[in-house]
Symmetry: C2
Subunit: 152 residues, 2 copies
């Protein structure tokens, strides 16, 4: 039985979770597979680029953010998945040695009209570095099953 | 010297590129790191889930799409990066054995008011499977340097 249902994500709630160290090796491994721009691949080569230093692919930051959310609540939730993403903004570079965490805000929550056993929860996820700067902001809705009557 | 500049992405242009096979191993490897939901990790475990089969993480599809775009034009472009993503929609599951390609449409293109050496190009990326179904749709703008006078 999932621990977190629709009712556990009230509108306006703000929670923080995660403590994810970012390594140069992790940055480079992701970049080799999916985003091999020089400033994601090699610290020396990055000096010659607009970035000026090795930074994580924006998609890597998104993937790390999802993993933190998975570990914090999705794994133990009645989530039925997300149809898409409303918006992503990359605001600050993510660098080797950074420690990331996530601030999740419930922007809206309502019961689905067509599928009344489901709720639709709109979250804003802000990925913060160790200095409290927002590196990435993402907004999206998730379908989450409602807690059945009598369910704990 | 980059091959593709702002002028090479005229509004309304539609191009297709990529031919990326998706393997079960690739799906599972991405999922282990970033999205370890059972229907992304194991074909047998997936039978018991809402997905009913092994499917790729939506973030994996996004990352593969970016890689196809990188190989097709970003690597050899005067791209100055993307500030974010306007929208992502996941429309069809991506399965082991699929072959993905990308249809890129230039939705809008204009010169930056504040930085007139740059253009702002808004693209729609549609990730198609071998049956021509749209698995994923993404819209975002990219800064691209204008071709200097006299530059080839």
């Amino acid at each position: 039985m999932a621990r977190w249902h629709y009712e556990d994500f009230p509108e306006g709630e703000v929670v923080e979770y995660g403590d994810r160290p970012v390594s140069a090796e992790g940055i480079v491994e992701f970049a080799r597979a999916y985003d091999p721009q020089p400033f994601h691949l090699d610290a020396e080569a990055a000096l010659e680029t607009q970035a000026g230093e090795l930074i994580a692919s924006g998609w890597h930051t998104v993937a790390l953010t999802f993993r933190m959310s998975f570990d914090a609540f999705i794994a133990d939730s009645a989530s039925q998945g997300a149809p898409g993403i409303d918006e992503i903004q990359w605001l600050k570079p993510v660098r080797p040695g950074d420690r990331l965490r996530v601030r999740r805000t419930t922007l809206a929550a309502r019961v689905s009209g067509s599928r009344p056993h489901l709720g639709i929860v709109q979250f804003r996820f802000e990925t913060l570095n160790q200095d409290g700067e927002i590196a990435m902001r993402q907004t999206n809705s998730v379908y989450v099953a409602r807690r059945s009557v009598g369910e704990v």
